[in-house]
């Protein structure tokens, strides 16, 4: 029969505790030692915003697009695609690598409609759980097949990048990127870091609309970076979460990648449809790795699948169907391109409005960076203390690094926002 051992249970379970038994009705408490985890710095902002009852509250925290009424948007092309696929079907498992059609269309966006790499089948690609999932799959792959490598991450970057490569057990190093004095790119230091890194290092690059700073290298600078990468034999991993969203033109936003491809780099790339198709919660993305030839691409893809299988077996079908329906139909694709440009234009308009408002208020500071930076985010340069004041006194929510999600700015709140920012920064 079962032995019932009663032991005095202390508050903490030590790894070396001797027999810890349990009676039939009084189990040991397994999790008493579990500490509460810190709130996610980005997603925690939205939670706080939702809890705030103030009628004046403004959410410029998480990077999700809002229209000029501050409302989330489902693109018309998406609604139409859903109408077509709804009631269809079956909900069978996708292959481990995801929807073939969706991946095909997605590669064209990043690599070009007429890409030789695509024609020659040199790209190993799998559907992934949006940008996060693509980055994580790559990080796991990097750990498994380049186990001694580090990853160089720009300062600053999206905070979750650090979590992703950490959980994949890939050691991290940083490289200079943002220049606080100019609120622009610290190109010289960045190039130094690239040159000083050991040959063959892995670098994480934001293809466009750098998150959180909105600061991108110019085309000329990208060319120099690419050249230096060749000299050093570095591996470039592009995180492209905002294609189309930055300039309004997807081809233009992929320029950095195209430059690297032209120089013959075999890159890795994470793509996300969260923002540019507004498919946030559907978790649709793609991970691609350029290989030497078709055979290698097949091998690499099979290994990526081996990493996906014990994580989630195969990716969700709904969002992928939406994407392939839109991109596979010329009319819908055109509609999408128009709508993406519309979103990008509204944001560019808000940048101008915010800057003008601040200048008209007589701010002693320069707000040039608001219109120079690109994409969803503006790195305002405000300190955490100033951000706290914005939240506590004005009910304005943003991450404490001073990052403003321009998508949350509307003609209705830009004046209020400018006043508040002016208030907390005018004495600095």
């Amino acid at each position: 029969m079962a032995h019932l051992i009663r032991v005095g249970c202390s508050g903490r379970l030590s790894k070396y505790s001797s027999v810890v038994g349990a009676t039939r009705s009084m189990s040991t408490a397994w999790w008493r030692h579990v500490e509460p985890a810190p709130k996610d710095p980005i997603l925690g902002v939205s939670e706080a915003f939702l809890a705030d009852p103030s009628p004046h509250k403004v959410n410029v925290g998480v990077g999700a697009y809002r229209d000029d009424n501050g409302k989330p948007v489902v693109l018309n092309c998406v609604r139409e695609a859903e109408r077509r696929i709804g009631g269809n079907l079956n909900m069978e498992y996708l292959p481990m690598g995801g929807s073939v059609k969706m991946v095909e269309e997605t590669l064209k966006l990043a690599y070009g409609d007429n890409s030789d790499l695509i024609k020659d089948k040199r790209i190993a690609a799998v559907q992934a759980l949006s940008g996060t999932g693509a980055c994580r799959l790559f990080a796991d792959f990097q750990k498994r097949f380049s186990p001694d490598s580090h990853v160089y991450i720009p300062v600053p970057t999206w905070s979750n990048h650090h979590n992703i490569w950490r959980d994949a057990n890939v050691p991290q190093r940083t490289f200079h990127y943002y220049h606080p004095e100019t609120k622009g790119l610290d190109f010289a230091s960045m190039m130094d870091d690239i040159k000083n890194a050991p040959n063959g290092s892995f670098f994480l690059l934001h293809a466009c609309a750098h998150n959180p700073t909105g600061v991108d290298p110019t085309e000329e600078q990208w060319k120099e970076i690419s050249y230096q990468f060749k000299v050093k034999g570095h591996f470039a991993f592009f995180d492209m979460a905002y294609q189309g969203f930055a300039s309004g033109d997807p081809e233009r936003d992929a320029k950095s990648i195209r430059i690297f491809l032209e120089d013959g780099h075999q890159i890795g790339c994470s793509q996300s449809y969260a923002k540019n198709m507004g498919l946030y919660g559907q978790r649709v993305g793609c991970l691609s790795v350029v290989c030497e030839d078709e055979k290698q691409a097949v091998a690499v893809k099979s290994q990526l699948q081996q990493l996906a299988r014990p994580m989630y077996s195969n990716p969700p079908v709904h969002g992928a169907l939406i994407v392939s329906t839109i991109l596979g139909d010329p009319e819908l694709k055109n509609l999408w391109l128009k709508e993406v440009k519309g979103m990008a234009d509204r944001i560019i308009g808000m940048r101008t409005a915010l800057r003008e408002n601040l200048e008209n208020l007589g701010s002693p500071l320069s707000w040039e960076h608001v219109t120079k930076q690109i994409g969803m985010f503006c790195y305002s340069g405000m300190t955490p203390e100033q951000v706290d004041r914005l939240t506590n006194e004005f009910h304005i929510y943003m991450t404490r690094n001073g990052r403003i999600s321009m998508a949350g700015v509307t003609t209705g709140n830009v004046g209020y926002l400018a006043k508040a920012i002016h208030e907390v920064t005018k004495s600095s």
Partner: protein, 455 residues
């Protein structure tokens, strides 16, 4: 493929680089031979050829044993081919099935123009989480009422298992997990990659084609105190062999006495017996004694939502405070994996579970699926008996759920694939859901031939 060497080529990239080289100071730089003014081909630059990719050493990964069956099946042109590999339900006509109630729920969602596609919270859709917990633990479960349960939406069963395993690897003092022998092929990989040390306990008895209860009790009895134990809540995959209620009670007592941590994989609730509550008894028994446990739920089969990847991980804790802290740590596992879960499938499930009529309809459709499978078991058993196929085939009707562990060996399986175009996993597991009244005879013929011609 780009062959040749740098000196002979004249691509735009080469010309640009040559021009740059000429402007360099004479001193050496990394990778540049100052004397020859040439630049060594970088590992990642394909256009130079002759140099390896940083991933050149990557070998072809093995085919997934289960999903690979479907790949092979698809390639076969035979008109009599049968796919008894992956566990996805099929109708009598051999077609996949979208439940009516799911179709309706989806239409409601699509037609609701106020719905948006925003990110879910990291832990997923709140409604879905609450309803899922109630479904497996029971609507009147004290654990739920006392807020002692933290439930997070995950990517189907696989995702729930992986997130739970990662949490355990970080926060639980024992890193050994015991899994039944045999088990779903993906289990060891999920737990291994999460950082747990995988051991097995005896489960299936090939001589009886039933449960090796004595072996199971012995192995759990000699497990290290506090070890994690994986239990299939019902309809064990791949064998279809489940403990009886009495056996579960004995397992529970033993587990609690050794402070073993139960981790349930519930992928077939409602699908096994046709009754949702019956199929949840094993889990509820453990929760009832006030102890802690973990449950991974999948809605792939019982709601037919396979590709939507809908599942939930529940951790039953001693009190609400602990549950809150555990939840916060689960978020730290999820965020660097995929940030937040996909919304579509979970919305469908929540819609169905919260509407009394739709819930009712669902139980009816669920029972119909389970009944069809039980019917196929009977038909196959009868067909083998009428052919006089040697051996005792009663396990076909004794086993439960989607799968039958036939007892056929890999040689016999290969024979059946080659001669009869029947696709199944090499361990002899067949998915009953892939059978129909029309195809049972063909399968019976194949089994008969395999058993009589090959040992």
């Amino acid at each position: 493929m780009h062959g040749g060497n740098a000196s002979g080529s004249s691509s735009p990239a080469d010309r640009r680089l040559s021009a740059l080289v000429r402007h360099l100071e004479g001193s050496s730089r990394d990778g540049i031979d100052a004397g020859n003014h040439s630049i060594a081909a970088a590992p990642t630059s394909g256009s130079y050829g002759g140099r390896n990719s940083v991933f050149d050493h990557v070998v072809m990964g093995p085919e997934d044993p289960i999903l690979g069956v479907t790949v092979a099946y698809n390639k076969d042109p035979s008109p009599v081919k049968m796919n008894l590999g992956v566990g996805a339900y099929r109708t009598e006509e051999g077609k996949p099935l979208v439940l009516n109630v799911v179709r309706r729920a989806e239409q409601m969602l699509v037609n609701d123009s106020s719905r948006v596609k925003e990110y879910l919270p990291i832990v997923g859709l709140a409604d879905f989480n609450k309803l899922s917990a109630k479904l497996i633990l029971g609507a009147d479960s004290p654990a739920v009422q006392e807020n002692r349960v933290t439930t997070v939406q995950c990517l189907s069963g696989t995702g729930s298992l992986r997130v739970g395993a990662e949490f355990l690897a970080r926060h639980y003092h024992q890193h050994t997990i015991l899994i039944p022998q045999p088990t779903w092929g993906n289990h060891p990989k999920v737990f291994g990659l999460a950082g747990l040390s995988v051991k097995t306990y005896r489960y299936y008895d090939p001589s009886t084609r039933g449960l090796d209860f004595e072996g199971l009790m012995e192995d759990l009895g000699s497990a290290p105190s506090g070890a994690i134990v994986l239990f299939h809540a019902c309809a064990h995959n791949p064998t279809g062999v489940d403990p009886t209620a009495q056996q579960w009670e004995q397992i529970r007592q033993l587990a609690r006495s050794k402070a073993l941590l139960p981790f349930f994989d519930s992928a077939y609730q409602g699908f096994a017996s046709g009754n949702l509550d019956t199929d949840a008894q094993s889990v509820r028994m453990f929760v009832k004694d006030g102890g802690e446990c973990i449950v991974a739920q999948s809605f792939a089969k019982n709601m037919g939502l396979y590709g939507e990847r809908v599942g939930a991980l529940s951790i039953v804790c001693r009190n609400a405070d602990v549950a809150g802290r555990v939840e916060s740590q689960l978020k730290l596992v999820i965020r660097p994996m995929y940030s937040n879960p996909p919304i579509h499938g979970a919305s469908i499930v929540a819609t169905v579970l919260k509407d009394r009529n739709m819930f009712q309809e669902w139980t009816v459709e669920l029972k119909a699926m389970a009944d069809r499978i039980i019917n196929m078991r009977t038909q196959l058993f009868d067909a083998l008996r009428s052919r006089g196929t040697p051996g005792d085939w009663s396990h076909i009707i004794k086993q439960i759920g989607m799968f039958t562990f036939t007892g056929l060996n890999s040689k016999q399986v290969a024979f059946m694939t080659k001669e009869y175009h029947i696709y199944m996993t090499s361990d002899g597991r067949i998915s009953m859901a892939g059978l129909s009244s029309r195809t049972v005879p063909h399968l019976a013929d194949a089994i008969h031939a395999a058993v009589t011609r090959l040992a």
